[in-house]
Structures are given as C-alpha cells and as structure tokens.
C-alpha cells in the first residue's frame, strides 16, 4: 500500500516524493490518536486517510506546484518536508513508540492448511490485494484514470483537450498520500507508531518501486511481495544485516536492468 502510493506519484508525476515515509508515519500516529479516543480501527483508518490525503493535497498545491519544472527542487523540497514532519511528529506525539492494537476479533491466529497464521496479517494481505485491484481498475478502466494517464503522457495536449491537469496532479498526489495513510494505519498493529518509522519505511517504498519498475503498478505489487519476503527471512536469518540485505536486490536490479523488473521506462 505504501509502495503503490509512491509508485503512483513517482511513476505518474515523476516526483520522487521523499515525504512519503513521513506521510505513512503521520497516518500511523493519527490512527493511534483516534484509537486512543476509543474508536475502532476501521474508523481510525478513514480518519488517517482523510488527514494524510489532505496533507498531500496541500503539499502538492502549494509547494510542489511552485517548483513545477524543477524536478531536483521537488525532491529536495520533499526531503526538507520529511525532516519537518519528523520533528513535528516528535513534538506532537513525543518520543516513545505508541502501540496500535489490532481489533479484537482479528487477534487470534487462524488455522489454515494445517498452519497457524496470524489472522491480522492475512487481513492486511487481503486489504492490500483489494487496494491493488482497485487502483488498477481506477487507472485502466475509469475516465479519471484515463485522464491521469493522458495528463502524464503529454500535459500540454491534455490541457488542450480540456483535462484539468493541475487539479489532476493534486488528486493523484492526494491519492498517493491517502494510500500511505492507509498503509500507516493498517500497518500500525504490526509496526506501532514511533519516531523513525518514516525513515524505516521510505527506503522500502523506494526499493519496491525501483525493483518493480517505474510506471508499472503490477511491478510494484510483485516487488513488494518479494521485498516483504526478503525482509522477513532476512530478519530471521541475519538480524544484524537485514537492513542491508534489503537494499542489495535494488542495487543489483538498477545496476543491471535500470527499468526494473516490469518497468516501462527508466526512472
């Protein structure tokens, strides 16, 4: 979910949104606060998505818009924003990790095919698949998706045929941010909300998108599974260097196949 949001923004708008990790983290924190108020996780998810999506819209509208032809500037601006966000979270929520609990009914492990699976994670899997499908349908089958794709291919032409490109970009960015917020909430019970969550998550998003290939949502999806596997096994086998192991596939892939596994273009 995190990565698809990033892929959306990067692949379509060519903006490497380094704030993405922060948005994820903000989503997690917001959700945590909502939960503390005694609401359900589902409600928290919606709130988180709304807040983060809105933040995304604001960022795009005001900051990224003014840097529209300066892709380096955009990257740096989002980098700066991520620092601001990180410290802001520290200020608002303090330095201790905040636990986020999975809903009651999903806590007990489920038995499937003779193995015990943590139920919650299965649910997360399900949600991410639904999201992937929804996103795919959005992009490929709806008018909005078509407009977005047109806008990215050729902004001038798109404007000429009446597509509100700028507004579209804001929408895309919000959508991407929204996904990050959702990811933050849903991932909450597994990761908790803590300072540094953004720094941990962002590289993952980067790796997944680069590995999967820019411009391909399918690639992102596949890649996130691959990375997920490597991460989990890596932590189990070589805990000290798990972090490092994560980056190696990305480095190799870029080095030898710069468009990624499924990519349609070089980043």
């Amino acid at each position: 979910m995190l990565s698809s949001g990033f892929a959306l923004i990067f692949g379509l708008m060519r903006i490497a949104n380094l704030t993405h990790g922060s948005l994820f983290m903000i989503g997690a924190y917001v959700a945590a606060s909502v939960l503390r108020g005694g609401y359900s996780l589902v409600f928290a998810a919606f709130v988180a998505m709304a807040v983060v999506g809105l933040l995304g819209a604001i960022i795009e509208r005001f900051i990224l818009r003014s840097l529209s032809n300066n892709s380096q500037g955009q990257v740096l601006a989002t980098l700066g924003l991520s620092f601001i966000a990180a410290d802001a979270c520290l200020m608002i929520w303090g330095g201790d990790p905040i636990p986020i609990n999975a809903p009651e009914m999903l806590r007990a492990p489920m038995e499937m095919f003779g193995f015990m699976f943590p139920t919650y994670r299965l649910v997360v899997l399900l949600i991410s698949m639904i999201c992937a499908v929804l996103l795919y349908l959005l992009m490929e089958r709806t008018r909005l998706g078509a407009m977005i794709r047109a806008g990215v291919d050729d902004m001038q032409m798109a404007r000429a045929v009446g597509i509100p490109a700028s507004r579209l970009f804001t929408i895309v960015f919000s959508l991407g941010a929204l996904m990050a917020g959702l990811g933050g909430t849903v991932g909450g019970p597994m990761l908790n909300a803590y300072p540094g969550l953004d720094a941990d998550m962002l590289p993952l998003a980067l790796i997944v998108v680069i590995l999967g290939g820019v411009g391909s949502l399918v690639g992102t999806f596949v890649a996130s599974f691959i990375i997920g596997f490597i991460y989990t096994f890596g932590i189990a086998l070589v805990p000290d260097l798990a972090y490092v192991i994560l980056f190696l596939p990305m480095v190799f892939v870029i080095a030898f196949r710069p468009s990624g596994l499924f990519g349609t273009m070089r980043a």
């Binding site: 601006a77 620092f83 802001a88 590289p203």
Partner: protein
C-alpha cells in the same frame, strides 16, 4: 587579475591570525566550519558542477573517519598510515559506488546513492563487532605532523586551514581546467556532449571518484577534530546537511560551499542551543531555499558585488 590574488591573500592572512583574538570555543567552531567546507566543496563537484545530485555523500566522510579510527584502535597504527589507508580505501569504495550509481541517472542515481549510503549506515549501526555500533569509537588522538602537537586548538585550526586551502585550491584547478569545462558541459547538455565526442559516463565517474576523495579528506579532518565517531555521521541527515550547504551557498560556484557551510554550521551551533528541533529547522530552510533562492547565496552576492564595484569578466 592581480587584485583578486591580493584579496585572497588578505583573506587568508585574516583567517590565520583569527585564533589569536578568539577563545578556544570559537577556534574550534572555525575548525568545524572548515571540515564542513571541505565536505561541501567535495559534494559541490558532483552536484554543482556535474549536475549529479547525491544523497549519500556522507558515506565517504564516514568511511574515511571510521577506517582511520578502526585502524588506530585495533592495530595501533600511526596516523600517517591510517590517513593514507583511509584515503585510498574510501576513494576505492567511491570508485565502486560511483560505478554502480552511474548505471542510472537523475532520480535513480539519487536513489542509488541513498541506498548505498544506507547500506553503509546499516553496517555501521548493526555490525557491532566491527564498528562498536551505537556506542561509536572513542579515545582517538590527533596526528602529530612534524612533531607538532595538534591537541592545541589553535594548532589544529591552522592544520585544518592548510588542508582546507589546499583542497579548495585543487578543486578550483579542476573546475577551471578543460576537464572542468567538459564536466559543466555534461551537466548542461548531456546528449550534445556525447555527440561532440565526450565519454559522458567516464567524465562523471572520474568526478565521482574525485568527490569521494575530497569527502574522505574531510572525514579525516572530522575525526581528528572530534576524536570520536558515531554511525549517525553516515545518516541521511548528514548527507542532507551537506547538500543544503552546497545549495544554500550556491551550487556550481567556488564560494558556494564556503558560504553555505558557514551558515549551516553557525546555525546548528547557535540554534540548537535554543531550539531542540534542529531537524525541523533544517527541513524548513531546505524548503525555503529550494523555492525562493534556488541559486543559493553566492550568485546573490556576486550580483551585489558587481553592482557595487562594477564590471564583469566575459
């Protein structure tokens, strides 16, 4: 032409006598600034003159510092050897990382430099056996070139000054050489340069190696100054600070990294007294500069100078 040299000499003379008028705190601050200047200048080669934005430059400062520290700690080597090995090793890693990173360009290049830097950072933190992890390596000493004791702040300041001036001198030579012109050419019109017969990849790779060398130099300065090293030196924040120094000061100018480093180091030292959220301030400055002053301070000052003193070289 002569006027320019006289100006430089005057500046250097002032810098030399500065420690005699200020207390130890300020002298050390001066040394700190100089480390940042060399670090930023090395990054400027890549970013400003080469047009290759890297978010992983802290790797080279860190690697060089750690190598020096590690060799000293575990083998008791004297500093002439640790320095040599640190420089050679770090530049070697720079050559390899440069090769990998330059398989891509633009954004992918940025992400590769970030990724590689994170790998080293991860190793620095987690491979506790090698690097002592979060505790860092302490108990180091400063070298004693020609028997001069560098524990004395003033002596160390002058030591840094010599290295800084030498580094800036060489970097200036590179920038003003034919190679420097071709480097700037690849930054401005990559395809055109290829068509004109330049091996753009090679030009960039050589620049990367040079940048990592000077980054290594700053790493040695860093560890001698602080006598302590911690993995946070290799973090994204560290690389981002260097980037900010370059951009705020003015990428692609010789004065840029100097101005930028002075600004950032001073800010860091004074502001962190009042404000706990240095990161946030860093972020705000970043966004501000990128949006409102993308060319940095140096061009602004040049314009001012031209208006005051008139005249411009063709």
């Amino acid at each position: 032409m002569m006027k320019k040299y006289v100006l430089y000499l005057l500046l250097v003379a002032i810098l030399i006598i500065l420690p005699l008028f200020f207390g130890e705190y300020y002298v050390n601050l001066g040394s700190q600034i100089m480390v940042a200047v060399v670090f930023a200048a090395s990054l400027n080669l890549l970013v400003g003159y080469g047009g290759l934005t890297s978010l992983g430059h802290a790797t080279y400062l860190g690697l060089s510092a750690y190598t020096s520290a590690w060799l000293f700690q575990n083998f008791g080597m004297t500093h002439d050897y640790t320095a040599l090995i640190a420089l050679v090793f770090t530049t070697f890693v720079g050559a390899i990382f440069g090769w990998i990173s330059l398989r891509a360009s633009g954004l992918s290049f940025l992400m590769l430099t970030l990724a590689l830097s994170q790998i080293i950072w991860g190793i620095g933190y987690r491979w506790v056996g090698l690097t002592n992890g979060d505790n860092g390596i302490a108990g180091l000493t400063r070298p004693t070139p020609f028997g001069i004791n560098l524990e004395n702040s003033n002596n160390f300041y002058w030591f840094c000054l010599i290295i800084t001036i030498a580094s800036l001198f060489f970097i200036a030579r590179i920038v003003n050489s034919p190679f420097g012109s071709t480097l700037k050419g690849t930054r401005d019109q990559e395809k055109r340069m290829s068509a004109l017969g330049y091996n753009v990849w090679m030009i960039r790779w050589v620049t990367f190696v040079m940048a990592s060398f000077f980054g290594a130099v700053s790493g040695l300065m860093y560890i001698y100054l602080n006598k302590y090293i911690h993995p946070s030196v290799i973090s994204i924040t560290s690389s981002a600070e260097a980037l900010l120094c370059v951009i705020a000061g003015g990428a692609g100018t010789l004065a840029g990294p100097i101005l930028g480093s002075i600004l950032i180091v001073l800010l860091k030292n004074y502001v962190s007294g009042f404000v706990e959220r240095w990161n946030m301030l860093l972020g705000i400055i970043f966004v501000f500069i990128v949006i409102f002053m993308p060319a940095g301070m140096a061009p602004g000052f040049t314009q001012l100078k031209n208006r005051l003193f008139g005249g411009k070289k063709p």
